[in-house]
Structure formats: structure tokens, C-alpha cells
Symmetry: D3
Subunit: 144 residues, 6 copies
């Protein structure tokens, strides 16, 4: 089994806020991230699929196909967007690096694992990594 990974980047805004708390409590817990005007990052999305290389092509998946899936399922929704305001999964949940990793998994898992395209091979999604900065990243493997 081979693990094949492709990276992409997106630029987005976000803030952290809990409507049930006072402004003071939000400020205390979330610090500068509680600024409601938002701030932003160049995120890196790292998608790992696993499978056997095809005997003829040598591909686990067609990397052009995987790029298209990542752009259609994740980047189209997140890139140059304000995550809190423009993506439904973060209307009621903070777009932390952890939560973005889980949300990207939910967006990609059906598109990859359920794909019948030739490009998909029989590969399965194994791991999502999201880097908020080069110093901070979250990883989700679809497991409890």
C-alpha cells in the first residue's frame, strides 16, 4: 500500500467567537483571535490517499484528478473566503485548524472514496492535514 499526498494552499479569513459568552469572556479565551473584523492565513491543505499503484499507469490516483477534487470540494468553498461568514460548517463552530481538518475530511471523503472516475483508482482517503502557519497544523484520519 502506498500513501500518496498532494498539497494545495488557500487564503481565508476567520475569527473565534462564542455567541453564548460576553465580549469579555470571548476576549479572555480567544485573545486577538476574537477580533470580529477577522484576520487571515495562507492555509496549506495536505490530502493523503492510500491504495495500490495501478499496474499499467503506476498511479495510486491520477494526481490531476485529485487536484480537481481538492479544488472543487474544498478550495472553491474556502479560498479567498471568510470562513465564519461564508461556509455553512463554520456558522456555528469556530474555524479552528482542528475543525477545518475535520470539515475538509467531510467534504473530501465522499468525493474520493465514492468516486467511480478512472482517475480515482480504488484509492481511499487516509489523512487530512491543515497548516494554519508553518508552525501549527492539525491532522485528522477519520477515526475516533
Amino acid at each position: 500500500m502506498i500513501f500518496l499526498t498532494r498539497r494545495a494552499t488557500f487564503s481565508a479569513s476567520h475569527y473565534y467567537w462564542n455567541e453564548a459568552w460576553s465580549a469579555e469572556k470571548n476576549q479572555q479565551v480567544f485573545g486577538r483571535c476574537a477580533n470580529r473584523n477577522g484576520h487571515g492565513h495562507n492555509y496549506t491543505l495536505e490530502v493523503t490517499v492510500a491504495g495500490e499503484p495501478d499496474a499499467v499507469t503506476g498511479f495510486v490516483v491520477d494526481l490531476k484528478w485529485l487536484k480537481d477534487v481538492m479544488e472543487r470540494e474544498v478550495l472553491a468553498a474556502y479560498d479567498h473566503r471568510h470562513l465564519n461568514l461564508e461556509t455553512p460548517e463554520f456558522n456555528n463552530a469556530n474555524p479552528t485548524t482542528e475543525n477545518i481538518a475535520i470539515a475538509a475530511w467531510k467534504r473530501l471523503e465522499p468525493a474520493i472514496n465514492g468516486a467511480s472516475d478512472a482517475g480515482a483508482g480504488g484509492a481511499k482517503l487516509k489523512r487530512i492535514r491543515v497548516y494554519e502557519t508553518p508552525e501549527i497544523f492539525a491532522e485528522y484520519r477519520g477515526e475516533a
Copy 2:
């Protein structure tokens, strides 16, 4: 003469918009950057000063002093901020990478070139670079 450079990063939101134009014209010229909700970046600020190393310390400037100046003059205003909404220089000008480089120069030049602190040596600001992403950066040298 030695050129000494220090880097720092800040995370901020921005958008591009011209109030004098229609939404259609803004969209046509600025594309996805015209999204008024904002999007964001991990910016890298690169500050270069020039001078002679002190005969005793070997320093052109005290790098701790330079770090403090960068944090006080630029990062305190830009980091975890929405540049259009929260910094006066971008209330009526788009926070493009080019304009951020010029604005950072204007913030840093008096603080560095006019400093009488021991840490400043006689060093002068020579160059500002701002990276919006690793693929795009603007440089300003204080020259027409």
C-alpha cells in the same frame, strides 16, 4: 557597509475595493479579492538596515531592539487585524502588497533612522520586503 535583515510574520485580513466603481467593475478588476467579507494571509515582513558593525559589539543594530521596533511600529497595528477596517493608511487605499511595503516603510523609517537608542547604532533603513505568499512579494527602498 553591512546590510542586516530581520524577518517577522503577521496574519491579517484584507480586500480590494474602489468605492467609486460599481460592484461589477470591482469584481472585474479585483476578482476574488473584491469579496467584502475579506480573506487573509500570513504575511512576512523583512526589514533591512545598513551600517557599520560596532567595533566592540560587532552589531550593526541590536537585533532585539530591531525586533521590538518591528513589533511596536508594524505588528501591533497589522497582526490579527483587518487592514482595510483597522489601519488608517488603508481606509482609502487598497492594502496591496505594494502599498503595505510603502506603509511599513513610513512606519519604520522615523523609528529606525531617528532613533537615539544605544541599540540602533547609526544604522539606517534600506529596504522593506513584504511577502503576501511565498510566491508574491513587494520591495520598497524609499526611493522614487
Copy 3:
């Protein structure tokens, strides 16, 4: 379960030496690393914790809390230090990348896994990576 990682850097000196060996044997086994004056590196410490994101904050741990733990438990002891001469765990053991990874685990494991701070959530230490250079790194998962 989410794996959340934070990186930090520290600059330290070290050498490799075995007191029970002759200088010739030390030189033969450790090469240039046997120089008793020491040489140094910019190390990168990568700390991975695992847990469930909090339903309200979206945090596995508060990253500011994790940063403080890393600084207090590891960087305060290693940064700008000579590891052989100034840290007790390397008085009788070479500060190889492997041994630094194990030592950082021992320093961080009680501080993270035993923490009762709000910032700690219920997250547990899962992995330590130490990069001596971008080309060489050691990883320890607390397992035999």
C-alpha cells in the same frame, strides 16, 4: 481524534563523547562531532498532542497554553545552552537527535498529560519530533 502539532525552535551547542574511550576512538566513532569545543544547531521541536476538539472552542488544546508549556519545560532549558554542559540529562549521555527527542518527551509528558489547566483540554502527548537540520530528524512516540 485530532492530532494537533506546534513547532518551536531553539539554538544550542553540543558534542559527542564517551569518557570511557580514548580520544582516538572518540574521533573515529564521532568524527567532527567529537570536537570538545562544541558546535551547534538551530533545532526544531515539534510537539503533537491528540484529543477531541472542544465543542465550544473548537480547540484540542489552547495553542497559547501549549506554547507556554513548550517554552517552560524545554526551551528554557535548551535554548542558547550547551546541552552537554548545562542540562542534567546529557551529563552522561550524548545529546544526539534521538536522545533529545526522548528527553523532550520526558520533560513534556507530565506537563501535558497531567495538566489540569483549562487550556490543556484532555489532550495527551502523542509524538515528539526533533530536527537537528532540515535533513535529519528523530521521532519518539513514548512507545518501546
Copy 4:
């Protein structure tokens, strides 16, 4: 158990082609990679071994020994080479990133796991990663 990793780079040419297909079919499946003149990459090879640090040296393996093995077993065959034309494992198989990872494993596994050199310790090969670009990499762990 410690996982110790060393990276090296090599520059090579390759193309993707299936002799059983028409030129049109090759072009359709492999796109620009079907150019028979070849194109190339700066590949990064990442080799991870696992073992216990030696009580005296603190080494899982002698990193100089590992470097020599990587150069002798992989880089001598791949660096500054056209993979399709000059390496037997790719005479009848496309040198995709996936296949290069498997081939590097086959070259390194006997040299590492079967080594009786002092430098080898009792370490075993655990993982191969091959980066074709910073955005694309394949990983093989010797497991089906």
C-alpha cells in the same frame, strides 16, 4: 523505539508511457508527462529507520553510515539519470512517485535490514518518502 529520518536529494528525468497504447491514448492519460524527450525533477528521498538508541553512542544508526547507504544504493543509480532509460526497474514500469518509493524501498531494505556494520545498529527500515515536488509525495512502509 525511535524513528530516525535522513533526507537526500537527486535530480532525474522521466516520462510516463505505455507501449501497449497509441500515442493518443498515452497523451490522453499522461498529458504533458507523455513527452518522450523527458522532463525532470529535484526529488527528495526521505529514509526512516527505527530502533533503540545505543546506550553508549546515543545513535539508532550512525547517520554517516546511513548517508553512505543511501548514496550507494539509490543516488548512484538515480541522480543525474533518466529513470526510464537507465534504471532497470523502470524499463517496463512508469517511474511515478509511487513506484520510485517502492523501488527505493527494495534497494534499501536489504542494505539496511541485513547490514552487519557497526554503524547499522539493529535498526530496521520503516518508511520511505519520495517528494517529486514540495506539493506531491509518496510514502511506502513495506506493507501491503
Copy 5:
């Protein structure tokens, strides 16, 4: 005046060879680069233009326009190509990093300095950098 830089990457094959020399002389001067099967690199092309930011847009050039110019003038000819065999400028000259930098300048200078597109502003090409690897790069400023 602002210097604005955009980077792009391309993957290409090349070799070094002088038809007027014997195989032995070619081998002696060019070493492993004399392999006529070719080897390859992930090149980075860095294009710097200079000008004044537009008072309305804040742009020296429209970065989307610059990206298109770089792709049309350079990447379309170099990416996934064998430089010696497929680009006329290297039919009789070695595609060294130095010569690629000059050739990219010749391709880009008329397209940028002579452009009348709105996106071009009045910006002029100032500098080309070509990285063959992260360790080796050549820079050309259009000056003798």
C-alpha cells in the same frame, strides 16, 4: 518605485554538451551533466518588475496578468520539456542556469515592457532569477 516579484515553477530536462569536443572532454568538463539521456530539475522562475503603484488599484502590475505572461512566454515553452531538444535558444547553447535566466529575460522583456494591456501598468522588467535547486540560482538584470 516598488519592485514586485512573482514566482512560478517548471519541471524540465537538460544536459550539458559541446559538439566540438570529444566525449572524454565533455565528460571531463561537465561531469554527470554530460549524460545525453538528460536529467532534470524543478526550476523556480522569479520575475521582478518595477513601477509606481496605481493610485486607484494599488497595483504596480495586475498579478494575474503577470502570471499569464509568465505562463505564456516561459512556462509554455519550458515546463515538462527537454530544454536542449525542444527550445530553440538551447539548440546550440547549454541550458545552464545562467543561460536560462538570460533566455527568460529575452522572452519576457518585450511582453512586459512593450505591453499596452491595462494590467501591465507602466511597469518594467527589472530582474530575473532562476533557481535550479534551492542551493543554486542565477540572476540577470538586462545589463552588461
Copy 6:
């Protein structure tokens, strides 16, 4: 004219100290860098030469020749060394990034500008950059 640059890395220890000052004054000015046990860095040395590409080879200099010069003149003296204790130029001067850049220039300038080797072409040393960390670097151009 082409500017051709090659990078190399070295790992070294250093401290900052002025014998004419009290320990307190040294501590106050140099902070953690005043630790006499030393600390260390992975330095990057970046050497830029300028000249015309040779009409036959396409080389400004033979990069293998330049690598050998850098290793012989600088890395042999600095790599895996304690700069204060083992290099004469820092016996009475702090090995700051600024001073290392000047010292590397003095070591390389005669070896490059005075070379009569075929590999040297007529290229001249134009610029030295020394990175102490990715965030801090000094540049010297041989000019007052």
C-alpha cells in the same frame, strides 16, 4: 552580466563577549548570547559571483569549482567548530552574523578574484550573505 549564487550550510558554536566589560555588562548587552559555554546555529552561507557566461560552456563559474572553494576557504574552518575558540578572526571580535559575513568575504575574495583556474572564469565575488537563522541574515558586498 549574470549574478550566480551558491549556498552551503555549516553548523557552529559561538558566544558574544567583551573582555573589557564586567560579566554584568556583558549579560546586559548580549543577553543569552553571553553564555560562555556557547550555543550554536545551522548557518547558511550564500556566495554570489558575477561575470559573463562562457560562450562554450554557458558557465559564469564552474559550480563544482565554486563549491570546492567554499568548502576549502570557509567550511573547513567554520563547520563543526566553535567560532570564538577555533577561528583566528573571532579571537578578538564577536562572531556576529555581520562579522561572519565580512570574514567570509575576506576568506573568499582572494580565492575567487585571484583564481587562475579554468573553473573560475573571470568571475568576481560580488556578495556574501550569511543566515544565522531563517529570520536573520547579514549581507556584505565588499563596499564601505
